[in-house]
């Protein structure tokens, strides 16, 4: 087996279309990001399980709150997109993400995000429901309102790989309305994931050799 994959729920569906048939994958839920130190431990444990059973372990993660910093292998090579997080992946680059945020602060959604939120009920709408149950509607509105207040718009990034976009649109429009955000759509790309899955790692990837570990510096400009 040449490659195996460890990926976030946000990236895996978009990646699958580019992966050779039968590639072993391990998927982590999106909510793992909330506790990055634990995510790092879980990622290392998953890497250890695959280490030595394949030539390359591909990570469907970016720097992701530093969760990938320090990951290491003993035998396989580790390949990680050189990107801060998945919004940059789907917009095409970290710079594209910075440019979008500079235009006007946005909360981004992709099909992977929506499926991830639905899978483990960890999206802002779910958070609103949880906090309403625990602390009442008035406080919930205030708290989740604060969580969302930096954003002015909700941008759904539509990639070519996305299927059943209408359901995504319905989810996104409802979420935008709930948090008083302006709804926008823009095309995205899965090119970085295509390159990751296809072994085109010359640019935009961090490749960790056995015995070495991923460092923060490798992800910074």
């Amino acid at each position: 087996m040449r490659m195996k994959v460890i990926a976030c729920r946000v990236m895996i569906d978009e990646m699958r279309g580019f992966l050779p048939a039968g590639v072993e994958t391990e998927v982590f839920e999106i909510s793992r990001h909330i506790r990055p130190k634990r995510l790092k431990e879980d990622l290392q444990a998953a890497v250890d399980r695959m280490d030595g059973t394949c030539e390359f372990i591909l990570l469907g993660y970016g720097l992701c709150s530093n969760a990938v910093v320090g990951l290491r292998t003993r035998k396989s090579r580790l390949v990680i997109p050189k990107i801060h997080d998945c919004i940059g992946v789907f917009l095409g680059s970290h710079q594209a993400y910075l440019d979008e945020m500079k235009k006007e602060p946005a909360f981004f959604l992709t099909q992977g995000y929506i499926r991830g939120y639905q899978s483990d009920r960890s999206g802002p709408l779910d958070e609103l429901e949880k906090v309403t149950r625990r602390h009442g509607r008035e406080r919930a509105e205030k708290i989740v309102g604060e969580l969302m207040h930096p954003y002015k718009r909700l941008v759904y990034i539509k990639t070519a790989q996305a299927a059943d976009v209408e359901a995504d649109r319905e989810y996104s429009v409802a979420m935008a309305a709930r948090f008083n955000l302006r709804y926008e759509e823009r095309p995205g790309t899965s090119e970085l994931l295509r390159c990751l899955a296809s072994g085109e790692w010359d640019r935009g990837f961090v490749v960790i050799e056995p015995g070495r570990e991923a460092t923060l510096e490798q992800f910074m400009d």
Partner: protein, 213 residues
């Protein structure tokens, strides 16, 4: 003291009304404000622990911050009336490119409650704005916050701007926010970092109090 334990527990259990009432009762019973503050800080630490254990959600963390903000507003005049002059000046902000302010606000509130004079520059703060605020205020501590990892580049650029402005030898720099750790602290060139608001207070005290004594 029983009331302090009750305040800590009310905050830990996110019982807003009870926590606020207990704080008012404690002050009315002449319990020193700084002791009430310490109990609240202990409560916030316990909230953080429950979050790490997955007993609490993100929104619970925010709820604790919200309650703490209100307690801080009650304690602030008492702490000032206690005769304590400002514990020192701190410039604080979320760095350029990052617009998240919840964590920053919790730290700023905690620092203010601990009697520091905090100049809060808000979010998306460019390096030059930090530099001019430090120059104008004469503050010798800078706190930089960031939720996103893109904040690291901005933190590093700000430390470099401090060096270019000749301020680096006189200004101590702390960084914090979700993804921050010792490694980030080293890479961006800060002096220290904090995993939570209490640590920010400890750092500020360690840096500023010896200078005043």
């Amino acid at each position: 003291m029983k009331v302090l334990e009750e305040i800590k527990n009310a905050l830990t259990d996110l019982n807003e009304d009870l926590a606020l009432q207990l704080v008012k009762d404690a002050l009315a019973a002449r319990v020193p404000a700084f002791e009430v503050l310490r109990a609240c800080q202990d409560g916030m630490t316990e909230v953080g622990r429950r979050f790490e254990c997955q007993d609490y959600f993100v929104s619970d963390l925010m709820m604790s911050g919200e309650i703490f903000k209100q307690i801080g507003a009650i304690l602030e005049p008492e702490l000032k009336a206690g005769g304590a002059q400002t514990a020192g000046k701190i410039v604080f902000g979320t760095v350029k490119g990052d617009i998240h302010d919840i964590g920053k606000d919790i730290v700023v509130n905690m620092l203010k409650s601990a009697n520091f004079e905090v100049l809060d520059l808000g979010v998306d703060v460019p390096p030059e704005k930090f530099v001019s605020a430090l120059k104008e205020s004469g503050a010798t501590v800078l706190g930089m916050s960031g939720l996103l990892t893109l904040a690291f580049d901005s933190m590093k650029a700000t430390v470099q701007a401090l060096e270019a402005a000749g301020l680096r030898s006189t200004v101590r720099v702390m960084v914090g926010g979700g993804p921050t750790d010792q490694n980030v602290c080293r890479v961006v060139g800060a002096d220290d970092w904090g995993a939570d608001a209490q640590q920010a207070v400890r750092l500020a005290k360690g840096w500023l109090e010896p200078a005043r004594s």
